[in-house]
């Protein structure tokens, strides 16, 4: 997943080879049959253990005290165990499960086993630490720990290619020899080892042709599963930080396993074949999200993620396509929000008599951002690189400080200074009041869910603008400017003009999102629109969402925004250390996957010198296939 230690010499259909070839052996020297049995039994035992009580008191979050019913972290263990069992069964060649692992079941089995081990042992250790000692473990906890360990032993005994095993050991020792030993180095070496051990073949055999309706059904099923998984994550209460960590562990290992199994490749092929359908399904899933929620609080998280993600996508035009490092981007969100607040009819607004309908307010906000974008861009865009970054950083701060001072004392009376503009009235479309809950076919759609649905619409517009702009003459000239400005101007591109368009377009989209955010939060104050802070959105987080998710893609910034919003929200126990953890995570990601979680085809080639000539199937500028995942 991270490194490109692929194994080109592995045959295209290793699943059959891996089952049959007798001389192949895993890392742990076990007979293949025994290893397979061990993995299967371990997986089933892990699943079974979740029906036992793991601890005696409900003090540990998630209530793990009940016999006969899993709860909290046990659910996650159950999922991990079930996945291992599935891949183990696929290893037996059970009919109907062959599709699970087109690239061979060993790698996925190892990874899911590690995931199950991770979440189980994490739970057991957390119980012991938080409740004060191993005495707090019920027998079920021990059973789970032993079962998951058995699974891992079995999985490492599964037949792997002799080459992979040797190469993995070499990679491990070579790294340690070159860099010395420390805990971090050991971890890195471990990742390298795993990468080599489970090495996924470059080319996965093409699937048999399935009827079109079945392919669409598969896309639908995956999208809905994504929606379910995403909703589950959002619904984990903030007090249960442990459960959220377990959730992340299972997700990371499961996605890695699916990648190794070759299923992700197949899925992206499916999506590429049914692009429009997949995009539509993504939006359907996004629209369905509030209907899966019982508490409007979670819809609030959803709408904030959408606002954050939409702004990040706007920034992606500026940073990802045109290559302009803008460190003051959040100011445009602020301009949009303040403009919408001023014309919202709030009694604290300077123009309290004015109340624009939303469409007019949205256009005004976007237009105001556009004007600011041009005003800031026109003098600064003649600069290149670092200079531009410093100047935009300055302008971003100027916005916040100016708004802070326009209170009638230090400056003109426009924005109420630090008090901001409170009590912004709710929107109303043709008598549909966004402020109250509505019943829709038995589902209650609360205030935040209303705004969530509005934001889905706005995000759809922004996605459309992004993809269309990127795949056109103007989009090509942005990328050309990013690649080599001198050459681009020599090809007849008016660099300044084209960059100004990118800057202004990005600003407009951020302003549009800002108009909604003003109504969602009831009030606008200057403070959130700063360069860096503990909570999104601020310029640093926006930039991080783009870089972490994957520059130049549609799904990347949305996924990055979701992660960056959810992590501080769910891991409250980190408190003031959350920024530190965030920094460490960012460094690790940049070390192992510099192109971001969702890689643009271009970027991936840029950072990982594979040396092979790529012959892509289509020549779009963005990776649309993954939209569904983030849209879900």
């Amino acid at each position: 997943m991270t490194e490109t230690t692929k194994t080109p010499d592995t045959p295209g259909t290793p699943s059959a080879d891996a089952v049959i070839a007798p001389d192949r052996q895993g890392l742990i020297p076990l007979p293949a049959a025994a290893a397979r049995a061990l993995t299967l039994v371990g997986g089933i035992a892990t699943v079974a253990s979740t029906f036992l009580a793991w601890t005696w008191t409900a003090d540990f979050p998630g209530d793990l005290t009940v016999y006969g019913y899993p709860g909290g972290l046990q659910w996650l263990t159950l999922v991990g165990g079930a996945l291992v069992a599935l891949f183990a069964l696929a290893g037996y060649g059970v009919r109907g499960l062959g599709w699970l692992a087109p690239a061979g079941p060993t790698g996925p089995a190892v990874l899911t086993a590690l995931g199950a081990l991770g979440v189980t042992w994490y739970t057991v250790i957390a119980i012991a630490v938080e409740l004060g000692g191993l005495v707090n473990l019920e027998p079920g906890g021990y059973v789970a720990a032993v079962a998951s360990l058995t699974t891992v032993i079995g999985a490492f005994g599964l037949p792997a290619g002799a080459d992979e095993t040797r190469r993995a050991k070499e990679a491990f020792t070579a790294y340690l020899k070159a860099h010395g030993r420390s805990r971090l180095r050991l971890a890195i070496a471990g990742v390298k080892f795993l990468n080599a051990y489970i090495g996924k073949p470059d080319h996965i055999a093409a699937p048999q042709t399935v009827p079109g309706w079945l392919q669409r059904l598969a896309v639908t099923a995956v999208t809905m599963a994504g929606l379910g998984i995403f909703s589950y994550g959002i619904d984990i209460p903030s007090e249960e930080g442990e459960t959220f960590i377990g959730y992340l562990v299972v997700i990371v290992f499961a996605v890695w396993a699916l990648h190794t199994a070759g299923l992700l490749d197949r899925f992206s092929r499916l999506v590429a074949a049914h692009r429009g359908f997949a995009l539509a399904m993504g939006f359907v899933a996004a629209i369905l999200f509030p209907f899966t929620q019982t508490d409007d609080h979670y819809a609030n998280i959803g709408v904030n993620i959408l606002i954050f993600g939409t702004v990040a996508l706007g920034l992606n035009i500026v940073v990802g396509l045109a290559g302009l490092l803008d460190l003051g981007y959040v100011a445009f969100l602020g301009v949009g929000a303040y403009t919408a607040a001023l014309v919202s009819g709030s009694e604290f607004s300077k123009f309290s008599g004015v109340q624009f309908p939303f469409w007019a307010a949205a256009l005004t906000g976007a237009a105001a951002s556009l004007v600011f974008g041009v005003l800031i861009g026109a003098p600064t865009l003649r600069l290149r690189g670092d200079y531009l970054a410093i100047v935009t950083l300055g302008f971003g701060e100027i916005f916040r400080i100016a708004v802070n001072n326009m209170d009638g004392v230090s400056g003109p009376d426009i924005t109420n200074g630090p008090n901001g503009i409170p009590s912004i009235p709710d929107l109303s479309f043709f008598g549909f009041n966004f402020g109250t809950a509505h019943d829709l076919g038995g589902f209650t759609i609360g205030r935040f869910a209303n705004y969530y649905l509005l934001m889905v619409l706005i995000m759809a517009i922004v996605v459309l603008v992004y993809t269309r702009a990127a795949d056109s003459r103007i989009g090509r000239s942005w990328i050309a400017i990013r690649e080599d400005e001198t050459a681009a101007t020599a090809m007849g591109i008016n660099g300044f003009r084209v960059k100004l368009i990118a800057f202004a377009l990005g600003a407009t989209l951020a302003g549009l999102a800002g108009t909604v955010s003003a109504h969602v939060t009831y009030s606008v104050v200057p403070n959130p629109y700063q360069f860096a802070g503990a909570a999104p959105p601020n310029s640093a987080f926006l930039l991080a969402a783009v870089v972490l998710g994957g520059m130049g893609t549609v799904a990347g910034p949305l996924l990055g925004a979701a992660l960056l919003y959810l992590l501080p929200e769910k891991l409250v126990f980190l408190q003031d250390k959350s920024l530190l953890a965030f920094g460490v995570a960012l460094i690790l990601l940049m070390r192992f996957r510099p192109e971001g979680i969702i890689a643009n085809r271009r970027r991936q080639l840029e950072f990982h010198e594979t040396g092979q000539l790529d012959v892509p199937q289509q020549t779009t500028l963005t990776d649309e296939p993954a939209v569904t995942k983030a849209g879900a």
């Binding site: 459309l464 603008v465 269309r468 702009a469 795949d471 056109s472 003459r473 103007i474 989009g475 090509r476 000239s477 990328i479 050309a480 690649e483 080599d484 001198t486 050459a487 681009a488 101007t489 020599a490 090809m491 007849g492 591109i493 008016n494 660099g495 368009i501 377009l505 271009r602 970027r603 080639l605 840029e606 000539l613 790529d614 012959v615 892509p616 020549t619």
Partner: protein
């Protein structure tokens, strides 16, 4: 009957106290391949940059088809002068086709709105651009690699792609900055053919090169730049025979050297023989090329005004 395409009048470029180019007069006629040579640091590339608007000349003017070129690179390209770079400057992370499409920038005018609305005009223009780009890729023989990233192409193909990208802007004059640098003899030979083919399309070509064999085979006229000043200009024989050129490359014999005459003769002979082996086919070829330009000029003359007309049409 030749008409001047590019006229540089009295171009001087100073960087502070250093005069890199000093009052150079220079003309490229339609249907001509002109070479610009000179020792390292003679100011060839600086002169090039003055022509293409990357530098604003301290004094003098550059005009294309009778109109003074504005000192902005993108406007120069729009007017009809395209260039390549000494060190390849492709858009490394764009595909081969996209690179050429970027070259089409000045000849298309779909802005952001039409990209967002995707009307029939937009699709038509995109399709037309793509067709034209594919024609160019066929022309340089890279059509089969249209979806490869430019960075993955071998060196020689990158050079070719850069030329195709420049041709995509439908220039009347193509400036090539050391097109054969780092190439082996076969590739140089192929580039020669390519330049002739470009000339046959009615595009005038100005080449900077260090490879003398290449220059003297190729060019109808050669100008020599030494220390920022134009030393000689003329056919390859004239330039090769000029003692000052030889001196500029090999150094002058110092005064009072005992074997003064023989020394110079020896050096001159040496270069002559060296060049003669190079330029052995050149003398018969040069007049032929000169004759060629005669009938050829009819076409460039025809296309010349056309391309100006299209430029005019684009501006409003």
């Amino acid at each position: 009957m030749t008409t001047p395409v590019l006229e540089a009048r009295d171009v001087t470029m100073r960087f502070g106290g250093l005069t890199a180019v000093r009052s150079v007069d220079f003309t490229v006629n339609s249907g001509e391949i002109v070479g610009l040579i000179g020792p390292n640091g003679a100011g060839k590339t600086t002169f090039f940059n003055c022509l293409t608007g990357l530098y604003v000349p301290t004094e003098g003017t550059v005009s294309y088809q009778g109109k003074v070129l504005p000192p902005k690179p993108h406007l120069v390209t729009k007017a009809g002068v395209a260039r390549t770079f000494q060190n390849i400057r492709l858009f490394a992370n764009m595909t081969v086709l996209e690179n050429v499409l970027v070259g089409r920038h000045t000849r298309t005018k779909e802005g952001l709105w039409s990209a967002l609305l995707r009307g029939p005009g937009f699709k038509k223009a995109e399709r037309a651009s793509e067709e034209r780009a594919m024609e160019l890729l066929e022309f340089i023989g890279l059509a089969h690699k249209r979806d490869h990233l430019a960075r993955n192409l071998p060196y020689g193909e990158q050079r070719k792609l850069e030329i195709a990208r420049a041709l995509a802007s439908e220039p009347g004059l193509l400036l090539l900055d050391e097109p054969t640098a780092g190439m082996n003899p076969q590739e140089t030979r192929a580039t020669e053919e390519l330049v002739f083919a470009i000339r046959d399309q009615g595009i005038a070509v100005l080449v900077i090169e260090h490879d003398m064999r290449f220059i003297f085979n190729l060019c109808d006229r050669v100008a020599v730049l030494v220390q920022g000043e134009k030393l000689v200009e003329g056919t390859s024989e004239v330039v090769q025979a000029d003692e000052r050129v030889v001196a500029a490359y090999l150094g002058e014999p110092f005064e009072g050297e005992p074997a003064d005459d023989t020394g110079t003769a020896a050096t001159a002979e040496e270069t002559d023989t060296a060049d003669e082996t190079d330029a052995a086919p050149a003398p018969p070829e040069t007049p032929a090329a000169g004759e060629d330009t005669g009938p050829d000029t009819a076409e460039p003359d025809g296309t010349g005004p056309q391309s100006t007309a299209s430029t005019k049409g684009d501006t409003p």
